[in-house]
């Protein structure tokens, strides 16, 4: 069970990471500006990084931190490409939201 003392155990960190992740998900689902949606995705990635680091410390395993390292690198690459796409789509339209990109309607 979670220890109710004021010293944070790793469970606290994990719960924090979970909440952060949920907030990020909520942002992705609710916000319509693509850039803000992207930022929420970054939130989610950070949440995951946090949980990895926490568990790395708890289990005394360096592999967790290695993973975080790689996640950061990949996140950076992803941001580059994603922003490039957004720029090329939104360049010619004004006040665009994600809902306007509904060409794949079935």
């Amino acid at each position: 069970m979670i220890s109710l003392s004021l010293t944070p155990t790793s469970s606290w960190y994990l719960i924090l990471s979970a909440v952060l992740f949920a907030i990020g998900t909520f942002g992705v689902l609710v916000r319509r500006n693509p850039l803000v949606m992207f930022m929420c995705i970054e939130l989610m990635l950070n949440a995951v990084n946090l949980s990895f680091v926490t568990l790395a410390r708890e289990l005394n395993d360096i592999n967790g931190q290695t993973i975080v390292f790689f996640v950061m690198v990949v996140a950076a690459a992803e941001v580059v490409v994603g922003l490039g796409i957004i720029v090329s789509i939104m360049r010619n339209r004004s006040a665009m939201t994600v809902d306007d990109l509904a060409e794949l309607k079935g």
Partner: protein, 637 residues
């Protein structure tokens, strides 16, 4: 010689092929001679086979000649094989013999017809099919012949197809036969599923050994009887036979008197072990149907005015007698009557054909009369045939009919009375026919204008080629009864000959009252026949009583009209209903499945809203649910 039995059906087939290829070149009458020689050689071969079989012991008289393996399909092994045993050889003998005579006759009868060679082609084809039917070793070869004779019957009935009535009659025959064929086919399926083979030896063996259950045996026997009713014109399905008289007279003589219509009787005799182990009511049904048909047809024949229609109904009636015999367990008597009936009925038909030919194709008896002087030989032979069918001793018909009545009495006295009444009526209407045609006043001169500018119209005797068969058949009708005389066991030639085939199923009446008093019954039969003749003479020749020919009998108890109304009215409604069901319900289901899928797809399609956020929502929702399931799995299950 026995291994050459496959030549017996092959020779007529060769004749048919020859006429098919070169018929037109042969012309009239050579094409006819080709066909006759083919059939005659087949007859000769059959006679040789018969004599060879006589030389063998009774148990060895069964020879199977396999030509090739016809249907080797898994557990179904059907060979194209011919079986030569006493029954099939008896059938083959009189089929080929009478066919030869009729072919000879037809050369004269069909002289001048422009489809001369085609006629003989069909006739030979018919003989081939009939021989396949009787010589077949298994139900499938028999069925091949069965269908073949049905097809040839159709061809020959509607031979003069430009006449609407002929075409219609041909169709009617075919369709009615088809109903019977359904019974035969179902019986074949049943036999295969019960016994695993279609061969007669296997089926009859299974019946002997008790492997075949009574229920199955009854079903098979009854289904085959349905087929027999169709082919042999018994009560519900007889209505094609009178109409079949549209065909040329040789056809009527061959197919509808002597051979095709007897195939039903043959089939029932072939499977007599199966019938033997069926429930008792099966035989009773057969006997009752036979007796009813016999009486029914005899009443109709009393009021018919077409010379051939009388004989047609007479055939139906006599076939009824044969089935009555089978139903009473008298297989030998049935075959005996079949053979003698073939003789005298063919004789009567050919004689009527001769009359028609001499009267320039006039068929109404009311326009005939006093023909005995104009056509002496025809008249003389016709009279012999009349005496045979009426049951006057010592002619052939008397012995066979008496044999049947003996067995029927031992089995069921009520049916005996029915048979007796029918015999009376038979004598009555046949005498009527003879009087109307050959005696009395010559009524044809009153109607000579109907035949165009012939000037002085007078009927003439037929050419020799038509008369010779008449004479031969007359001789056979006189002496044919010698096959099975009741006077002592030693004279029961036919019974001994057929013993290997029917022995076990033959009803044993040695100890019955009927058998003890068989001479009494013999005398009763003679009295009945003479009574019928005398009454008829009194009515028609001496005009002592009024002529009683009720209209309803002339209209055959309105059977045809009733059938048309039933099939046309409610029947057509039923067919329309079925068609409607097929179009709307069956197709509706199929199309409905397609439509519903389309509709469902149409609705499901809208999930693809195109909005990224909807997709994202659904993905995350799904993920949460999956995770929840994993978590709760341990708790719930």
């Amino acid at each position: 010689m026995l291994d050459l039995i496959w030549f017996i059906p092959l020779l007529p087939l060769a004749g048919a092929v020859l006429n098919l290829a070169l018929g037109r070149k042969f012309g009239d009458p050579r094409a006819g001679w080709v066909a006759t020689i083919a059939t005659a050689s087949s007859f000769l071969l059959t006679v040789l086979v018969y004599f060879e079989m006589l030389g063998l012991d009774a148990e060895e008289r069964s020879h199977v000649e396999t030509l090739f393996s016809w249907l080797p399909v898994g557990s179904l092994q059907v060979d194209f094989a011919l079986l030569a045993d006493p029954l099939s050889v008896t059938m083959a003998l009189f089929i080929t013999g009478i066919s030869t005579l009729i072919h000879l006759y037809a050369i004269g009868y069909m002289h001048g017809d422009d489809k001369f060679s085609k006629f003989f082609l069909y006739l030979n084809l018919f003989v081939f099919s009939m021989l396949m039917l009787v010589l077949g070793e298994n139900l499938l070869v028999t069925f091949l012949g069965w269908e073949g004779v049905g097809a040839c019957s159709y061809f020959l009935i509607s031979f003069w197809h430009t006449r609407n009535s002929a075409a219609v009659a041909g169709k009617k025959a075919f369709v009615t036969n088809r109903i019977g064929d359904f019974g035969v086919m179902t019986a074949m399926f049943l036999a295969f599923s019960a016994v695993g083979s279609l061969s007669y030896s296997a089926i009859n063996e299974a019946a002997h050994s008790g492997e075949l259950a009574s229920v199955t045996a009854t079903a098979i026997a009854m289904l085959l009887f349905v087929g027999a009713c169709g082919k042999s014109a018994q009560l519900p399905l007889y209505l094609w036979l009178p109409d079949a008289m549209e065909g040329p007279t040789p056809v009527s003589a061959l197919i509808h008197a002597a051979t095709m219509v007897t195939s039903g009787v043959f089939l029932m005799t072939r499977i007599n072990p199966v019938l033997h182990i069926s429930y008792d009511w099966a035989s009773t049904v057969i006997a009752v149907v036979g007796a009813a048909t016999a009486l029914y047809a005899a009443t109709i024949a009393v009021a018919q005015n077409d010379i051939k229609k009388v004989l047609a109904y007479s055939t139906v009636s006599q076939l009824g007698f044969m089935f009555l015999a089978i139903g009473s367990g008298a297989y030998v008597a049935a075959i005996f009557h079949m053979v003698t009936h073939a003789f005298f009925k063919a004789l009567l038909f050919l004689g009527s054909g001769s009359v028609i030919h001499g009267m320039h194709h006039e068929q109404d008896m009311r326009k005939m009369g006093a023909l005995r002087k104009a056509m002496p030989i025809t008249g003389f032979t016709f009279i012999i045939g009349w005496l045979a069918i009426a049951g006057v001793p010592p002619f052939a018909g008397f012995w066979s009919k008496d044999e049947i009545l003996l067995y029927v009495y031992a089995n069921n006295p009520v049916l005996y009375v029915v048979g007796l009444v029918t015999a009376l009526l038979t004598a009555y209407y046949m005498t009527r026919q003879v009087i109307m045609v050959f005696y009395g006043k010559a009524r044809w001169s009153d109607h000579s204008e109907d035949h165009g500018a012939h000037g002085e119209f007078s009927p003439h005797e037929s050419p020799k080629v038509m008369l010779i068969p008449l004479v031969v058949l007359a001789v056979l009708s006189i002496f044919g009864g010698a096959m099975q005389l009741p006077f002592s066991k030693k004279l029961h030639f036919l019974e001994h000959w057929l013993a290997p085939v029917v022995e076990e199923s033959e009803a044993y009446i040695g100890k019955t009252w009927a058998y003890q008093n068989k001479y009494l019954l013999l005398v009763v039969a003679i009295i009945v026949a003479l009574t019928g003749i005398l009454i008829s003479i009194a009515v028609y020749a001496k005009a002592k009583f009024k002529v009683v020919e009720p209209k309803i009998l002339e209209q055959a108890w309105k059977y045809d009209a009733t059938v048309s109304r039933v099939v046309g009215g409610p029947g057509a409604a039923a067919f329309n209903l079925i068609a409607w069901i097929d179009a709307n319900i069956v197709d509706g289901i199929v199309n409905g499945v397609g439509e519903s899928i389309r509709g469902a797809a149409g609705s499901v399609r809208r999930i693809q809203s195109g909005f990224v956020r909807t997709y994202a929502l659904l993905i995350s929702l799904g993920t949460v649910l999956i995770l929840a399931w994993f978590l709760l799995r341990g708790v719930l299950l």
